[in-house]
């Protein structure tokens, strides 16, 4: 006999993430594209930076800006097609009919995109350190917090705007249009915060700057907005 019992949200989330990773292992689409794009961006920008005669501190600033900008472009590009498979196969409809809340789907997709953002950032920064000889001498913990907050904010925002643009005929261009006003302040804040952290001298201790607070704040606001808006935004999109 079949028994029906509504699964807990944590179980649904676990199943969704497992499914995302399993299909990724089979198709090697998302993470492989992120790594290839990040490597390409990283190598091109690092070679360019390495050819410039710059003071090490200026080189660090230029590199920081480039790293975040390229990670942003990579994640924005990856997020444009994140619902295509679900819509084309009708799997999105089936999940909604199963009672899976769009906000749960949003969280699963945002988590996978966040993992992609971290991989992209590590690849681009790694390439920069290796090729452009950029030296990071400051404490790594504040940088790790920033990298994590930045990745969460970026992925949460791009996943949200991909849902908001899902119902439009020109999804990709609409997504970019609605993402930019929210994305630009975030990228500026995260670059500023990274520079603040990287330019701490050995005698100084790290403290929460205005830019860092803004990054952490937005990294909390964007996922909350995504969870709140996705249920409403995904109404007729399946």
């Amino acid at each position: 006999m079949s028994q029906k019992k509504a699964p807990a949200m944590a179980n649904i989330l676990g199943a969704l993430i497992q499914k995302e990773l399993l299909t990724e292992v089979r198709r090697s689409e998302f993470f492989v594209s992120v790594i290839i794009l990040s490597l390409l961006f990283g190598i091109i920008s690092s070679v360019g930076i390495s050819m410039l005669t710059l003071h090490p501190s200026i080189r660090l600033l230029v590199s920081t800006y480039t790293w975040w900008l390229l990670t942003t472009i990579t994640i924005l590009t990856a997020s444009e097609k994140m619902w295509d498979k679900e819509i084309a196969t009708g799997a999105l409809s089936t999940m909604l009919l199963a009672g899976v809340r769009p906000s749960t789907l949003y969280i699963a997709k945002a988590l996978v995109l966040c993992l992609g953002a971290i991989i992209s950032l590590v690849t681009i920064v790694g390439t920069g350190i290796f090729i452009a000889d950029v030296r990071i001498s400051s404490d790594i913990s504040p940088l790790a917090i920033l990298a994590f907050s930045g990745s969460v904010g970026l992925s949460a925002l791009c996943t949200l705007t991909s849902i908001l643009s899902i119902r439009t005929d020109r999804g990709a261009s609409v997504q970019i249009m609605i993402t930019l006003p929210l994305l630009i302040p975030f990228v500026i804040a995260v670059v500023r915060a990274t520079i603040d952290t990287l330019t701490i001298t050995p005698n100084e201790t790290w403290s929460l700057s205005g830019a860092t607070s803004a990054v952490i704040g937005l990294a909390l606001i964007y996922p909350s907005l995504g969870i709140l808006l996705s249920d409403r935004a995904m109404g007729d999109s399946a």
């Binding site: 079949s2 196969t89 409809s93 089936t94 009919l97």
Partner: protein
Amino acid sequence: MKINEENICQLDKINVSLGGSRIFQDLSFDFKRRERFLLLGRNGSGKSTLLRLIAGLLSPHSGTRTLGENTNPFLLSHASGLYADLTIEENLLFFSGLFGVTKPVNDVIKSWGLDKFRYRTLRTVSKGTSTRTGLALVDIIRPPLLLLDEPTANLDHDGIQVLLQRILSDQDTTIIIATHDLHHLATWGNTLLLLDNGSIKSSSSIETKEALLDFYHASNR
């Protein structure tokens, strides 16, 4: 909003427009519990749209669609509704889990003739096998309100027989089938629905059914 207990779904003055053209205008209809509805209509008459509306996957511009208590509809449309990169077994386990069903899938896989394909991804099997997998999921979850859009389109003779025996004979389920396949389904169902110019003509007696079928055939010529 509560609905009459004998109904499983009520549509009240529904208006839907898609791509600038009006599909339904003040459409009202009561779908009674445990009835079997055969939904006919020409291409573009709105059959699939009506099923999506009943399933709750499409919101009307105005009017209300109300379901009875504990009525979770399930729609199997032209697309399988499953993941192309998961195997047949993984799809059945994944989606039945989302529906909260803990039934083993082995028996259903065998019943639908999917045993030799169970470890193959849907991407690598035929459309007919994909449709069988979607129907196998229906067989597992047994929804109280089942909406099928052209379920026989990709099925061979054996597949249609399994569909008729395992799903369409279920007396506890309210089933609405949108189809053009009168060869296999003309005698199935107690109520014939014909979508024409955004409204529903319905019939449940044999005489009026024949009249409605004549009208449908005439409109298709």
